[in-house]
Amino acid sequence: MTRICSLTELAAAVPDGAKVAIPPFYASPAMAATRELLRRGARDLHLVCVPQSDIQADLLIGAGAVRTVETSAVTLGELGPAPRFTAAVRSGAVRLVDATCPAIHAGLAAAQKGVPFMPIRGILGSDLLAHRPDWKVIENPFAAGDAIVAVAAIRPDVALFHAALADREGNVFVGRSRELLNMAQASATSCVTVEEIADGDLLADPARSGAVVPAIYVGRVAVAHRGAAPHALAGVYDADGAFLARYAAAARSEAGFAAFLDEWLRAP
C-alpha cells in the first residue's frame, strides 16, 4: 500500500547505495526530493538517467552522493555542459555507465516485462558496445545472419519523480509524460512528490485514468509545492531560467559549486 508521508520520510526511503531512476528535465524531476536526499547526506547512489539528466544529476554528483551514473548524457542544455558531471568523469570520481537513450528505455522495458533482456536495433559498430559487458550481440533467432544487440534488463530499486497530482490511494496523475509509467513499472517501487493530493479516485475519472501511475507501483507519496523547480511542471509552472543560469555559472568551479549547494540546502 502506498504511504502518504513527509518529504523527509520520502527521502529516507531512498537508501544509500540504491539504484535510482530519474527522468529528464521535460518529465518533471523530483528536485525538492533531491534536495532532501542531499540534506540527509545520501551516498553511493547508482543513478539511472531515463534516458538523460541535467542539473539534478550534476547536483547529486557534485555533492558526492553518486557512485555510479548510468546515462545517455548529462548536460545543462542551452547553458552548456554539466560541470560537476564532466569533472567527475574525467577524475574518475564516479563510475560512468555510458548508454544511448533507447537502450535505457529497452532495459527498463525488459524489467517491466520480467524478461532478462530486450533486443534493440542500431549500436553495432559503436564504441559504446565494448564498454558495456551487459550488452551482447546476438543473432536474431528468426533470421540467420541478422546481428542484433541484446540489452540486459535494468531494474531500479526506486523510481523518483514529481507529478501534479495524486489521490489518497497513491494513484499518481502524470499527464502526457507516460514514460514515467514505464519507469515506475520497471522499478521495484516509486517515490513520488506531487503538488497536491486530491480527494476522490483518479482512476474513476475517465479523462485522467489513462495517464495515471497506479498505486501498486507507488511506495511513497509526499507533497512538495513546486517540487520540480527549477524545472518546469507541464501546464503548472515554467522552468526557473535565472536559477538554472546561476547554477551553470557557479558550478564551473568546485568552490562555486560548494557555495551554491550550501545556499540551496539551507534555503527553506
Binding site: 533507447p102 542484433i148 507541464a234
Partner: protein, 257 residues
C-alpha cells in the same frame, strides 16, 4: 531574388531544402536551427505541385508541447524511428570524420579523459534507423572535422548485413554543404556559403572529400522563404527557443522602409 540574409537564416533555408519530400521530420533537443528549418519545410509542403493544398509534412520537436504528439516522451521517438515512421533527423558531434563517424562522447581515451562531452543521447540508434540524418555543426574547423574520431559514438557506415535503413545524408556547417556517398564512404562538397571559399573549406577540414572543379555558392533563401522564416517560423520556434527567436529579425523590421 532575395535581399541579404543572416547566417542562421541561410542555414535554416538550406536544411529546409534537404527536407523536401519528407513525411515526418523529428528534431531533438538543443536544435533551434534544425527546428526552424523543419517548421519552414512544413510551411512549404502545404502547397502541392499543382498549387493546391495537400497534407503538410509532420514535424515533431522534442520538448515542444505544440509541435509534438508524443505521450511517452523519448520512448515514442525511438519506437517511431525503429518502425520507419521518421524520415529525417539531425545529429551533431564534437568530432565528425571523413567517413561520417560521429563522436559525442569525448576526446582522449574512453570515456573522454581529455575532454568529456554530454554523451551519446540517441545517436547510436537513430543514425542507423532514420533514412535522412542531417549532420549539422556550425563550427567548421579542423578541431571538429577530423581525419578520424577519437571515439566512435555512432559509425557513419556499417558492414553488409547490418540492419541499417538509415544513415548520413548531408553535412552542413557554417561554411559549406556536403553530401555523403555511402558506397564510397566519402563526403562531397556540394556548395560553399556566400562570403567563403573552397580554399577556406579545405584549410579548415581535417579530412579529404570529393568536389567538382567548380563548386557553386550555396543559394540564399528566396524572398518568400525569408519572409516565412522571419514571420511564422520565428513565432513558432519562440515556444522552445525564445532567445534564438528574439535574435532572428522579424518580418516587419526586415521589410524595406
Amino acid at each position: 531574388m532575395s535581399g541579404s540574409c543572416s547566417p542562421s537564416e541561410l542555414l535554416i533555408a538550406v536544411i529546409a531544402r534537404l527536407l523536401e519530400g519528407c513525411r515526418h521530420v523529428a528534431v531533438g533537443s538543443q536544435s533551434p536551427i534544425p527546428g526552424s528549418a523543419a517548421l519552414l519545410a512544413r510551411e512549404l509542403s502545404r502547397a502541392g505541385p499543382d498549387g493546391g493544398e495537400r497534407e503538410p509534412m509532420r514535424v515533431s520537436v522534442l520538448g515542444s508541447r505544440r509541435n509534438n504528439f508524443f505521450t511517452s516522451g523519448g520512448v515514442e521517438l525511438f519506437d517511431l524511428a525503429a518502425q520507419g515512421r521518421i524520415d529525417a533527423f539531425f545529429l551533431g558531434g564534437g568530432q565528425i570524420d571523413g567517413e561520417a563517424n560521429i563522436n559525442l562522447t569525448g576526446t582522449g581515451d574512453w570515456p573522454g579523459t581529455r575532454v568529456r562531452w554530454p554523451g551519446a543521447f540517441g545517436s547510436a540508434f537513430l543514425y542507423f534507423l532514420v533514412p535522412r540524418v542531417i549532420l549539422f555543426r556550425e563550427e567548421h574547423t579542423r578541431r571538429v572535422l577530423v581525419p578520424k574520431v577519437d571515439i566512435v559514438t555512432a559509425p557513419g557506415t556499417s558492414a553488409e548485413g547490418v540492419h541499417r535503413p538509415g544513415g548520413p545524408y548531408a553535412l552542413l556547417t557554417g561554411l559549406a554543404l556536403f553530401s555523403f556517398d555511402k558506397s564510397r564512404r566519402r563526403f562531397r562538397l556540394e556548395s560553399v556559403h556566400a562570403g567563403h571559399t573552397v580554399e577556406e573549406v579545405l584549410d579548415n577540414t581535417g579530412f579529404e572529400f570529393d568536389r567538382a572543379q567548380r563548386v557553386p555558392e550555396t543559394p540564399p533563401p528566396e524572398a518568400g522563404r525569408l519572409a516565412l522564416i522571419r514571420g511564422k517560423v520565428r513565432d513558432e520556434i519562440a515556444e522552445i527557443y525564445p532567445r534564438f527567436a528574439a535574435a532572428l529579425v522579424t518580418a516587419d523590421r526586415a521589410s524595406p522602409s
